[in-house]
């Protein structure tokens, strides 16, 4: 409403004029009823007067709608809101009555021989009736505002819900795709064939089993939004067992999750992708390998998950690099689950290496 172009403003006034002209005509239909009863007045003057009497309402319309938007009717019942609405009805009613009295004196539609009395008397006599009509008209206008605003609100909520849904499925898809990282699969299968060619059949079988467990979890439960931390740790362990066979002594891992935190609910697929990233950026890039530490802890009502690798620190432009993009996927998933109630930080600790810290509100135990 701030910046309405002149053209649109005159169209709006035209609409308002048309509507109130219509209301005036409906009001004027009493003329026909009176005629049918056989009374004789100046019909044209009477009709003109009745139509014109709605002019204050036409002029007040933008103000009334503005007020309706400022203090939404039937919802907000604060004292200022009530005062504003009651004041508006009273003011418009008084002006409405005064304008009607004025028109009656000027046009004298009933054709009385002398003027219909002093203005103040006439105004006072019309006041109650006009106030009553004002109240009804005002309530009707508020109802219109209420209905249109509600419809707009529902539409807004629907778009918002659709947007969230879309984000959720995107996050799910990317999690699934990351899990099915084909090179991880091919390299693991290649390692298994190495074990077989080396006649280490037991090791080969247990690696096939480990890979199957890993895949089962990916195929079956990728659409549960939250799982117990214990499940996440177990899943991570499967993944690490495979990676340890592949990287041998180059990969050193410690997982430190207190037993009492195992039943806590956490987002599905949160640990393994973080560790996968840590391996990709911290271990796989260094010939000497490195160490990864995974730790969970609680303080008050929050759960902290830390994934640390002692690899090279982050480049200054990490936020826009591939690392940043991978984290932004996780960030959008956490946003859907927790709104603003989570923290996700990537930093270079003073001791070197890279640490990802996720802090979540503690769910039901």
């Amino acid at each position: 409403m701030d910046e309405i172009p002149v053209g649109a403003r005159s169209i709006r006034w035209l609409k308002i004029a048309a509507i109130w002209f219509g209301v005036g005509l409906i009001d004027a239909d009493m003329v026909f009823a009176m005629r049918a009863q056989g009374t004789h007045y100046d019909w044209v003057r009477l009709s003109v007067m009745l139509v014109l009497s709605w002019l204050p309402w036409a002029l007040a319309t933008p103000f009334v709608f503005g007020l309706g938007r400022r203090y939404p009717p039937f919802r907000v019942t604060t004292l200022p809101a009530i005062c504003a609405h009651v004041g508006a009805v009273a003011a418009i009613g008084i002006i409405f009555a005064a304008w009607s009295a004025f028109l009656e004196i000027v046009l004298n539609p009933l054709g009385q021989p002398q003027s219909p009395g002093p203005f103040t008397d006439l105004w006072r006599s019309r006041l109650y009736f006009r106030l009553l009509i004002s109240l009804i008209v005002y309530a009707f206008m508020m109802a219109i505002i209420y209905v249109t605003e509600s419809r707009q609100r529902i539409a807004r909520q629907q778009t918002e819900a659709a947007r969230l849904n879309e984000q959720l499925s995107k996050a799910e898809l990317s999690a699934l795709r990351r899990q099915m990282e084909p090179h991880f699969m091919f390299n693991t299968l290649n390692a298994i064939s190495g074990l077989i060619r080396d006649n280490r059949n037991d090791a080969a079988v247990s690696m096939i089993v480990g890979l199957s467990e890993f895949l089962r979890r990916a195929a079956v439960d990728s659409n549960r939004p939250q799982v117990a931390l214990g499940e996440e740790v177990e899943y991570l362990q499967r993944y690490l067992d495979i990676q340890k066979v592949r990287f041998a002594e180059r990969l050193q891992v410690s997982v430190d999750v207190p037993a009492e935190l195992l039943p806590v609910q956490v987002p599905n697929l949160i640990l393994q992708p973080l560790v996968e990233n840590a391996i990709k950026h911290g271990i796989a890039k260094r010939a000497g390998g490195g160490a990864i530490r995974v730790a969970a802890s609680r303080s008050d009502d929050r759960l902290s998950l830390r994934v640390y690798n002692d690899g090279p620190g982050l480049p200054a432009d990490w936020a826009t690099s591939r690392v940043g993009i991978g984290l932004s996927n996780l960030r959008s998933r956490l946003q859907i689950l927790y709104g603003t109630g989570f923290e996700l930080n990537l930093r270079n600790p003073d001791t070197g290496g890279v640490e990802v810290l996720v802090s979540l509100p503690l769910g039901e135990v």
């Binding site: 084909p182 390299n187 290649n190 390692a191 064939s193 796989a284 010939a287």
Partner: protein, 250 residues
């Protein structure tokens, strides 16, 4: 089918950062009586050293390795690349680049025995052919331009610059355009006389006056003629080794 004209056992180098991935290859290689000693390296840097020391006939090379990947190994070796190189990787998207870099074959992980045997046979064929007619080091280059034919002694060339599918030869104040890729030319030139210092520059070692450290921390190669060429970081150690100014000894 492969020929067995070559009698000396083939010396093989297997380069992969994963022990089990190397195991796949070494187990299969040991079954073949034509294979001599088998060396293993777990990084690109180790492979460079091993190749310069032992000059293997055949190399199985992984692409994705820490610090120095398979393509880096080939680029840093220049003319010292073993006569046959087979890429072994889980990534199929590097195939084109691998063949451009001179790979003989491209094994996708995991591979079966038959596919491995095909790769090995191709390598044996090429090595047999190589034994019959070892590639001649080119002493003279023939440059044609505008109706003229110029014979250039390789030793006359100061430095060579890549320009798409051409190589630009800088000889004193003159430049000659040769319709060959830098990689191709590098393989033909005497590896002892020339050294790559940048993705697109090869330099004649005899023409180098010195190295200079610029303000931004990068090095420049200064030629006797005064020309300054950028030394790319990844080729620095390689060049220092060749010039005998290894930083480790300093």
């Amino acid at each position: 089918m492969h020929s067995d004209k070559r009698s000396a056992p083939i010396r093989v180098l297997v380069v992969d950062d994963e022990p089990l991935a190397r195991r796949n290859l070494t187990v299969l290689l040991r079954r073949d009586p034509g294979i001599g000693c088998i060396a293993e390296c777990e990084s690109g840097a180790d492979a460079l050293e091993e190749i310069r020391r032992t000059r293997p006939d055949l190399m199985f090379l992984d692409v994705q390795m820490p610090e120095c990947d398979g393509f880096d190994v080939l680029e840093l070796l220049g003319a010292e690349v073993p006569p046959t190189v087979v890429f072994v990787t889980a990534h199929d998207e590097y195939a084109l680049r691998a063949f451009e870099a001179g790979a003989l074959d491209y094994l996708l992980k995991p591979f079966d025995d038959a596919r491995f045997q095909r790769a090995l046979n191709r390598a044996k064929d090429k090595l047999a052919h190589y034994a019959e007619t070892p590639p001649q080091r080119v002493e003279r280059l023939v440059v044609r331009s505008a109706g003229r034919v110029v014979f250039l002694d390789a030793a006359e060339i100061d430095w060579i610059e890549a320009a798409d599918y051409y190589a630009c030869l800088h000889v004193g104040n003159a430049t000659h355009l040769l319709r060959r890729t830098l990689l191709d030319l590098e393989r033909d030139l005497d590896g002892g006389a020339f050294c790559r210092i940048h993705r697109s520059i090869i330099v004649n070692l005899d023409r180098i006056r010195g190295l200079e450290l610029r303000e931004d921390g990068e090095y420049e190669v200064v030629l006797i003629s005064g020309v300054r060429l950028r030394l790319s970081r990844r080729f620095r150690r390689n060049l220092q080794d060749r010039l005998g100014v290894n930083s480790r000894r300093a």
